[in-house]
Amino acid sequence: MTPTSLDYLAWGALPYVVLAVLVGGTVWRYRYDRFGWTTRSSQLYESRLLRIASPVFHFGLLVVIVGHAVGLLIPESWTHAVGLSDEAYHVLALSMGVIAGIATLGGIALLIYRRRTTGPVFSATTVNDKTMYLVLTAAIVSGLAVTLLSAYSGFTGGVEVDYRQTVSVWFRSIWVLQPDVAAMSAASTGFKIHVLIGLGLFSLFPFSRLVHAFSAPVGYLFRPYIVYRSRGREPARSTRPVRRGWS
């Protein structure tokens, strides 16, 4: 199947636009809205549901991210080289993916339910948040759907196109500035939808509360407990936009 011009636009040009928005937007947000860079936790209002839903969602999501990294970055030839058969790989990947995906989806469903039904939490929800939840949920649902479809066709011996020969090849080709549009065009519609939603999520990232993921406090593990700081100079640059990035 030869790629159409729409394919070139979607899989050749769009990824770079999204990348530019993601990087540029994050730099902009960091420079001009460091004060708005926060989790904006609503735990103060409600913590009974949050204490279940939030860890389930976040830990599920972390597994999903690791799964994506493995699936997209490690070529088939490498797993073959260490003697992992395709069947074993798929059973492993799909089972992990389904468990983590369901945890993530269940978590976000409970979080959205909590957000909608707890009065103070709902009134603290901005349009920006709602948009973000919509795209994020769509990404999770579509991702889980393609995982389940892959698993289903794997069990019934169907001819589902393997994402490791299409999406992953395309994804790696982006980073060497030689986008393999043909590989992505050969992917199934489900994967294409999931990738498009994913690109949407990435472009939303710097402009929503999702930025808190970039400040995962890993440095905490390596710093002394007590922080001393000299009175010193304050930043000269204005970090005061008219509106917060999340409102």
Partner: protein, 560 residues
């Protein structure tokens, strides 16, 4: 001894509160709130609050560390780690802090539906302004607030919920005859070993190297909420609108220019003292980790250095502390009350945070009890006997101030009692009775000095605050602070909520809170001439006569 024995010397602006003089008027709380937390998102936040003890405090039962897990705990190997867990556990529970108080543990803030008073339709009933929650916007029943149990602390119903009273168990009987009560104003302790700072995953909280004030960098805070758990005094609060932590700043813009904090300045009872203490930063960790909790108070005293010792002064100079700070430390009322007289005690040293707001425990429960039984409440012998006999107030105070060891509390109360008796003899024209002073290990001169500081409490002696480093020529430096970390949108530095407005006090470009502005403002207020370049004229103050400078932009030839 060689000067090497003194580790890194650091300066700390510390506070002492004399609880005998607190009348529970809440002026400190109200002025603090007006200055710092009268914004949306921090409606429930009181950087300064006054609690009735025995009582639950604010937030409710915050002292129950089995539940809230604030402060530090000593591990079996003798090291300290945050009670709520070390670094790995903090990161593992970052998605939902398991030990965070909810808004209900503080109280649900509310306003009143005033509009109803003027928009209600004509009827037989007088319209009322119903309370509405500031959290959900719904009508609510008010059932608790920051000082809901004000003055009710000694009573059975609320007093029995006090974690300390529960710890003392059967001993505290809230019977009418044995009841006692006092007020405990609380601010952030600006600890030497702050567990909130240790709990912050982002590294946004820090202790200022120059004056020891513990602050939150609003640009670095990511709202992980671990500091709220980490602080055993529950004095770090979560702003639910901005998603950032906020806490008492010890009014650092005022301290930097040598002024007392708002709570101190407005204290009606004049019970607060501010001053510099010098301490050995390298001894803090070991002192906070001593095995026996009752040794924590003496260990904390050991960390503080004597600014009159020439070796300490040399070490302080070596570590970059300017001479005027050292001189200020020599005159510090804090050093006098904490170290020399030994009458000020730390609040809950067992949290191992080395708090730097000290309390002179109240003698009044003892005096009240004596006078109510018909004795002379100011006779030294009676008072000493009563301190020994009235176990319950003493043990309660010991749980608050010395991790349960009654000896330092007794010693303090005896000194206060001795001061009363000694000074009464003078007031009655009798001879100075040196034996009273000797019985508490003091001299008559010391007692009179203590009396001057505690009873007369002159403004200049209560507040001995050096201005920030680098303000004048002797410091060989110029303050170059350009912005204020509180100067964010909707923050206290912006002069109000919701950003700049076209009219009124908050209009125009916000003025950063700096030393230079402070001096410029004072010059402007006290001189006949306008100082500095004209900026703008407030037309609301213009009487229409003449043309005040600054009414129009400067002419081109003036500029040239």
């Amino acid at each position: 001894m060689a000067p090497e024995r003194i580790g890194k010397v650091m300066a700390q602006v510390a506070m002492v509160m004399n609880l005998d003089k607190c009348i529970g008027c809440h002026t400190c709380s109200v002025t603090c709130k007006q200055a710092w937390t009268n914004r949306s998102g921090v409606e429930y936040v009181w950087f300064n609050n006054v609690e009735t003890r025995p009582g639950q405090g604010y937030p409710r039962r915050y002292e129950d560390q089995e539940r809230w897990e604030g402060g530090w705990k000593r591990t079996r190997t003798g090291r300290l780690k945050p009670k709520a867990g070390g670094r790995l556990k903090k990161l593992a529970t970052i998605f939902a802090n398991p030990k965070m108080p909810s808004i209900q543990d503080y109280y649900e803030p509310w306003t009143y539906d005033y509009e109803n008073l003027i928009t209600a339709p004509l009827g037989d009933d007088i319209p009322v302004a119903r309370p509405r929650s500031l959290i959900s916007g719904e009508p609510m029943d008010i059932s608790w607030s920051a000082n809901w149990d004000d003055d009710l602390g000694g009573g059975e119903e609320l007093g029995s919920q006090d974690p300390i009273a529960q710890k003392l168990g059967e001993q505290v009987k809230f019977s009418f005859e044995e009841t006692f009560m006092f007020y405990l104003p609380r601010i952030c302790e600006h600890c030497l070993n702050p567990s909130c700072v240790a709990s912050c995953p982002s590294g946004a909280m820090y202790k200022r190297a120059e004056d020891g004030i513990v602050l939150v960098d609003q640009d670095k805070c990511r709202g992980w909420r671990m500091c709220v758990t980490g602080c055993p005094y529950k004095k770090v609060y979560f702003n639910h609108k901005t998603g950032k932590a906020e806490k008492c700043t010890l009014c650092y813009p005022r301290i930097e220019v040598g002024q007392p904090t708002v709570c101190s300045e407005t204290c009606v009872g004049r019970l607060r003292y501010l001053g510099v203490v010098l301490y050995d930063a390298e001894r803090v960790r070991a002192a906070a980790a001593v095995k026996d909790e009752e040794d924590l108070y003496p260990a904390q005293l050991e960390v503080l250095l004597d600014p009159n010792d020439p070796e300490v002064r040399a070490a302080a100079r070596r570590d970059g502390i300017p001479d005027r700070w050292i001189e200020s430390a020599q005159r510090s009322p804090i050093h006098l009350l904490v170290k020399e007289f030994g009458v000020a005690l730390p609040l809950h040293p067992e949290y191992r945070t080395m708090p730097m707001v000290w309390y002179i425990p109240p003698l009044s429960p003892v005096v009240d009890s004596l006078t109510s039984t018909g004795h002379d409440g100011e006779d030294a012998g009676n008072l000493f006997g009563a301190i020994d006999a009235l176990r319950i107030p003493v043990e309660y105070l010991a749980e608050l101030f010395t991790a349960g060891d009654p000896a330092p509390v007794e010693a303090t109360l005896r000194k206060l009692a001795a001061m009363r008796s000694y000074m009464r003899r003078i007031n009655l024209g009798q001879d100075r009775d040196e034996s009273i002073a000797e019985s508490v290990g003091m001299t008559g001169t010391d007692i009179e000095r203590m009396y001057r500081l505690l009873a007369l409490a002159k403004y200049d002696e209560r507040y001995v605050i050096p201005t920030a480093y680098g303000v004048d020529e002797t410091d060989k430096g110029v303050i170059e602070e350009i912005g204020c970390s509180l100067d964010f949108d909707g923050g206290p530095g912006m002069g109000g909520m919701g950003g700049p407005t076209p009219f009124g006090e908050a209009s125009g470009r916000p003025e950063p809170a700096t030393v230079e502005n402070f001096h410029a403002l004072r010059d402007r207020q006290t001189s006949d001439e306008r100082s500095g370049p004209p900026r703008r004229v407030n037309l609301l103050n213009w009487d229409g006569n003449g043309r005040p400078p600054g009414l129009f932009p400067p002419k081109k030839e003036d500029q040239a």
